[in-house]
Symmetry: C2
Subunit: 556 residues, 2 copies
């Protein structure tokens, strides 16, 4: 059995590498010691100047260049297939490549453009990468499980195998996007790092001592290396935000029911207390917005029963822009949740954001919610264990493969009963109500006549986690438990000369002690540092506008 | 124990009657044989002409008369307190009265109007009745359970007892509504009739051989007798629509998350697969619309975490009005769900609606969905039994009281596990998707370029059920399982001379046989007959406009 799954995993691993055209193969990949940062100049050396230009243009710019006839979809697709191939060789971030299908789609798009003198949709010719939960015809979905290789979600004879496509894939094709690869995930999806027995470990391209984050880690690493201008991940506990933050990207965790999850593979499907959501990661705030706006234009509520009928609301975006210009915003800020303080690079990034906002005349107040985030995480983590781990164990059981240490498995195999689950749901609703009341109450403190517009919070205590080091999830899971909207904004990079704990800092808890002990200015040096801006439920338009604004203040 | 609960129930029953001022007491209540119909002329004899005028004005008209200073809130409130008192004596439809508090509130509203020369809100001076799940300060909530008497939801020492108010109560007060009574429910809320050990049985005022429906049966009976112009019920399997239909009223079952349920008592709270929703019942479509519009103006999404940020969308209402005028609508129609055919009065009502629409040039096509409604009800009823009946049994166990035969108890006491519940949730999502695809596919058949605008469906196979006769729920539960929006439209009354099964009709199933055998033209004669117009999720504006339009075609 052991030989069996190891051989299967190895064969799959090799087949991914083999799918890379030989002209794009690297002779040698340096170690992290030899070459910590493989982004920027390092990866550029393997590309021609045109490829560099294309791949370092954001999705908004690509769409414009193709729509104006300056670039062809084929040229854009080829450049990204090349750069994605390099990225995978450098940090092991792909589960699937389908470059031939992508080039064929790109050709069809170019033909369409030539014939109709207009684009097929707002994403015409934009390459889009997908986390390996999306089903794409003629492409496998392993989700990092060896037992899923050669099957449809573990079922060998399912008629959907090889032919089925997730709803969002259909919409992306309608919009003119070019799909070309699927990216790595930690098996189970329940981890802040990306590791499985197929691709092994996806490292952070900016600092290969560190993790790219998880669970949409392949997306983070690939886009971080500009092997994709725009990709989609999912987030049940931070899985879009962590890789966005760790790779210096913008990303959004929308509220459940805003974007279509229909027809995607998932873990613990049917657990409907804390829902996994799907959302984009990209190199600019504008690209994330383009993705959300474009998808909403497809009326996803008519094709995914979980999606709410809520088109893009321009007035909501405009509201933030208007308040930005008139120094009319108020933010809450939280560097510690009362259990752990973020590490020095992250607290510095938060200070930078606060200073930038205050300099523009906006107000920032301390965020001290009730219930506390510790109270929230109690029932949030319960919801991940409703089935006592049965779904995850079932998936591992298909192959007998080893389970990565990073995976958050429920502590025991006891299933919750209907009564237990109902009690958690009631607790969740009460907590949401209490937190909502707290948020409303801040109208007394902001001076704007409104409650705070967004909360500035760490995504993780770390700039990026060290392998096996992602241990503290409470900075992200509160957003999932409450179903808020959160946009990640890249702020700076860790600096060993600046980022130090205050002299004589005493950890405020056992968890904080672990965070403090984890910190190493030398190892983290150069890593991306980001923050999240958390808004109320369905405040996607507002948070995207706020992210764009904060990014602009920081000169990004 | 038995003596105990019987005495408690009897004392509560007596205390409701005692709360009625003696000047409003009836000397004698005739039997159903003596007086089948106690609405209209019968109840009017106990009121003075002004009281009749006021109580037979709809909520829209009342709001106008009070806003113009023609009527005082006090006069309106007194008239409805009087008529509600009569209604309770005739059909046993109230669990609580709080007339003194109502009159005091009405006085305050009149004083506000006198001082500010304007109304407090769009419901200024409109009496509103509430199903006995709403918490109102200084008023008990028994929800029909003897064991809840003297407690807060069964907890004797809960600090909320007597002081807590549900979120919608707060909003209704803000809007200027006058709250004055709470209406009867079947204990557990899980029945299409209204029966419990306190008020015994709420009969149908239009035909006292029959049930008023359930579970918002007290609302149906009270508004049917014009003892309230507007009330709120809840619906997890038909509980707003059945009493609306049985009492010749308009009512809406909105999609979950449109109106605020926050802070209400409920059965099986925390079961979040098929959610109970709250919505209005009233004598006119305009009144139902006024209630929904008014509540949405209160931004319930800021006070109830389950409510989606979706204001009243005037364009959606206008769309239906515009299509109505230009013969541009297309309806689906369903008289049988493939398992049971509605009884003759209901099929005639549906034919009347279809004829009226076709006469105006609208199109009506047969509704033949996949999955079938039988397939849907399979998992819908499972969701009601996730806790194996523990919640209901716990509530009964508080007093040891007898359980009414009509109550839908789960067949056994086995709880579902986390895995079982997840499987039902996945089944639900798949069914919603398939049904949605069917709905979309009708665009090929309508000739309007759109899928059908609404589906005309029976609410129940019966015009109104005979006591212990409500047995077939499949005409309502599909709407709950799929979370669609449904508005009830009163159509006609049963007519023993017209309403007969087709010669030689053969039942199509065992369930249909029970429906056929239940039919008795003599007993049902004169009962209200209604239909429901079912729209897609969150189509409240459209269904209210459609209900208003169809009602107007029928001359209601």
């Amino acid at each position: 059995m052991v030989q069996d799954w190891k051989a299967k995993a190895e064969a799959k691993r090799q087949s991914i590498l083999d799918s890379i055209p030989s002209k794009w193969k690297l002779d040698k990949v340096p170690s992290a010691q030899e070459q910590r940062d493989v982004t920027g100049k390092y990866i550029q050396q393997f590309l021609d100047p045109k490829e560099v230009e294309i791949t370092e243009t954001d999705a908004v710019g690509i769409a414009k260049q193709v729509a104006s006839g300056t670039w062809t979809a084929v040229a854009v697709t080829e450049a990204f297939c090349h750069r994605a191939s390099l990225a995978h060789q450098l940090v092991s971030c792909l589960h699937e490549t389908f470059f031939d299908a992508a080039l064929s789609d790109a050709k069809a798009l170019d033909a369409y453009f030539a014939e109709h003198k207009k684009v097929k949709g707002p994403l015409h010719g934009v390459p889009v990468s997908l986390k390996d939960q999306f089903h794409v015809k003629d492409v496998e979905t392993s989700m990092g499980y060896v037992g899923w290789i050669g099957t449809f979600e573990g079922k060998p004879d399912d008629p959907r195998k090889g032919v089925y496509e997730s709803e969002m894939v259909r919409e992306l094709r309608n919009l003119g996007a070019v799909l070309y690869c699927k990216t790595s995930v930690p098996h189970t999806l329940m981890a802040g790092e990306t590791v499985n027995n197929i691709i092994k470990y996806t490292y952070n391209p900016k600092n290969r001592n560190l993790s790219c984050g998880g669970s949409s880690g392949g997306e983070g690493a690939l886009i971080g290396l500009r092997g994709s201008p725009l990709g989609f991940g999912t987030d049940i506990g931070g899985s879009i935000r962590i890789p966005s933050a760790f790779n210096g990207l913008y990303g959004i965790r929308p509220s459940a029911g805003r974007l279509p999850y229909e027809g995607m593979a998932n873990s613990m499907d049917g657990q409907n207390t804390v829902l996994s959501v799907v959302g984009p990661l990209a190199t600019t705030a504008g690209s994330v917005k383009l993705a959300v706006q474009s998808l909403l234009s497809q009326n996803p509520h008519l094709y995914d029963p979980m999606v709410v009928e809520m088109p893009w609301r321009q007035a909501e975006e405009d509201f933030i822009h208007k308040q930005s210009k008139s120094s009319g915003l108020c933010f809450g800020v939280m560097k510690s949740d009362g259990v752990a303080l973020a590490q020095p690079p992250v607290t510095r990034a938060i200070d930078m954001v606060v200073s930038a906002l205050e300099k523009e005349g906006h107000k920032v107040i301390e965020w001290k919610p009730t219930p506390t985030h510790e109270e929230l995480s109690n029932w949030i983590f319960k919801s991940f264990g409703f089935d006592g781990g049965k779904d995850l164990q079932g998936a591992f059981g298909l192959s007998g493969e080893d389970v990565a240490k990073q995976v958050l498995l429920p502590p025991d195999a006891k299933e919750f009963t209907g009564t237990d689950i109902a009690a958690v749901n009631v607790e969740q609703r009460a907590a949401k109500k209490k937190y909502m009341d707290y948020w409303n109450s801040t109208a007394e403190l902001t001076g704007t006549g409104r409650p705070v517009d967004a909360v500035i919070s760490p995504v993780a205590p770390y700039a990026a986690a060290r392998p096996e080091g992602y241990k503290y999830y409470n900075f992200t899971v509160w957003v999932n438990g409450l179903d808020y909207t959160s946009a990640v904004v890249p702020v700076t990079t860790a600096d060993k000369n600046k980022d130090k704990y205050p002299e004589g800092y005493t950890p405020i808890s056992e968890a904080d002690k672990v965070v403090v002990e984890d910190y190493d200015a030398e190892i983290y040096d150069g890593a991306h540092v980001s923050v999240q801006l958390v808004g109320r439920r369905f405040h996607e338009e507002r948070m995207l506008a706020a992210a764009e604004y904060v990014g602009s203040l920081l000169g990004r």
